[in-house]
Symmetry: C2
Subunit: 330 residues, 2 copies
């Protein structure tokens, strides 16, 4: 365990008073933007967290934190859960994981349960929730952290910065003489659409490529959807020679289908995943992917949550850098 | 959805009165062993479950069911969670998954939380708990189902019957001309030891093989332990030519180490997993394993739990048949 960082340490690093740090955290008094930035940088740098145990006892909340995810069978979320639990254990908090099958009714039901059970907090990767669905939690004073590619309003957010990694992936694809890229993306009605698709489409022209609508397949984040999407792409008159996937679960499904059709990856078609879930290094060929570091996401989420438990009321957004991981599928 | 089975249907199938079915479920009056057996067979056959929503509202319990497992990153448990959730959804119950890292202190803490939070019920795969650790739950009237290879006292139990499957695995290993078997098993201090090891040791002589102590490695149910155990076995003067693993996570670790050492599976050493977690069909070579069907285990656990919620007080044990799955690692 690293040594405990105190509010005084943060104040010292930021060159402000402890009271100022407290104001930044609680939002109880206005703080100049530059001062807030300095304090937030120091919090980030020192990995500052607050001691919540006493507070949660005072408030009568339970010691349970709900991690609400679309798919418990996606190892990315298992890794996120493990990291979150690891960080929160020292504070006497237990993480319980709930799976919504990416359905808005189940997402809403679980948020309602968290409020009713007086959970200590919620970390959620929403899929079809709307920003207004968070209102009951905010009204109840429930600490919430969203881990997602898009913002859900004035709620703490951990979000990927995948621009550099996506550019690297495209560089690699171009270096492998691939020109006709496709994507098996998420469904149209996911909240915020699919930012991974938007990034890819925006960056492709820099490499002399484009991502036409007919080479984008929309579906759920499942192995079945990956297989179906890959099959559909291989039926096109002009087949793509590189397929990007919305996540690694989709990519594993695409690989299933490639094996079934006798299509060689990467010989015939290159395949690029997203997340670097444990799946990615297990399959053959090992999957080239854009790593979104689950353990780091868990650590950031834990930090944001504990700050909330300690009374911070202004919302924060933390970007976690994604990284291109070259393996054997491009 | 299948049609709703009523207590009257069960009574009809068993050739008894509805009152008798009710007595079997609640244990409130003694029932002759043959009658009980007939009722339990009918319950099994008809997949009878009881309507718990009204009851749980009456008792003031929450709608949450805790699934407590040693390792949330083991896809076997993710699949079990999905199946349990699927079965309980119709009753308005939500499954929350908690990971104990196979530590008794965390297992105990989570059981205590479940009682304190008045959860609707608990399904648990204990690892280092002792039977006496369940007393607080039994005292609190909390419905509990254990999913494990060994009994934890008078608690409902879903447990594998892997004798036939283990025999098939040994037949296959013998047919591949392997004679020197080894096992990477669970830790010594897991409750009940390692029944999978006991089965294997008991059955090996029928195939002219034995499992000497020096070819049994004990460790955690982790990928790291699998890699370390396989490395250790490959360092023995007389290397084994077939390695059984306590579960598929261990087997994936063993395969990691085989790749690292340049050892061919199955050319040099055959490898056999246990569970048929999704890992097993993803790795190359695809893993020959003993399937313990997670979805069926989830369905049985859901049924036992709902019976408890409806008032059954006598405990039941249900065996789920494991099955040998021949793939490419033997």
């Amino acid at each position: 365990m690293r040594e405990r960082v105190t509010m005084a340490d943060v104040a010292r690093a930021a060159g402000v008073s402890s009271a100022t740090v407290s104001y930044v955290l609680s939002g109880k008094r206005p703080v100049a933007p530059e001062t807030r930035a300095a304090v937030e940088a120091a919090i980030e740098e020192l990995s500052f967290t607050v001691n919540v145990t006493a507070r949660s006892l005072r408030t009568g909340r339970s010691s349970l934190v709900a991690l609400i995810v679309p798919d418990i069978a996606n190892p990315f979320f298992a890794q996120l859960a493990a990291s979150l639990q690891e960080e929160l254990r020292g504070l006497g908090l237990h993480v319980v994981v709930c799976s919504t099958r990416a359905r808005r009714d189940e997402e809403r039901a679980l948020l309602a349960e968290a409020v009713q059970q007086r959970f200590a907090g919620v970390v959620i990767t929403p899929f079809r929730l709307k920003p207004e669905d968070f209102k009951p939690l905010v009204d109840a004073g429930m600490p919430v952290v969203v881990s997602a590619d898009v913002s859900f309003g004035p709620i703490d957010l951990v979000t990927p910065d995948a621009r550099v990694a996506t550019r690297r992936a495209l560089e690699r694809v171009a270096a492998a003489q691939r020109r006709r890229i496709a994507m098996i993306a998420g469904p149209r009605d996911a909240t915020g659409g699919d930012p991974r698709l938007k990034h890819l489409r925006a960056l492709a022209p820099r490499f002399g490529m484009s991502l036409p609508h007919e080479l984008v397949i929309r579906g759920e984040h499942t192995r079945e959807a990956g297989a179906a999407g890959f099959g559909e792409l291989m039926n096109r008159r002009h087949r793509p020679d590189a397929v990007f996937c919305g996540n690694d679960v989709i990519a594993v499904g695409a690989l299933d289908k490639a094996h079934e059709l006798g299509i060689d990856v990467p010989g015939d078609v290159a395949l690029i995943g997203h997340d670097d879930a444990s799946f990615a290094s297990l399959v053959r060929p090992r999957l080239t992917t854009i790593r979104y570091p689950a353990a780091e996401v868990g650590r950031v989420a834990a930090r944001l949550l504990t700050e909330r438990l300690d009374g911070r009321t202004v919302h924060r957004t933390v970007h976690v850098e994604a990284e291109f991981v070259a393996r054997a599928s491009v």
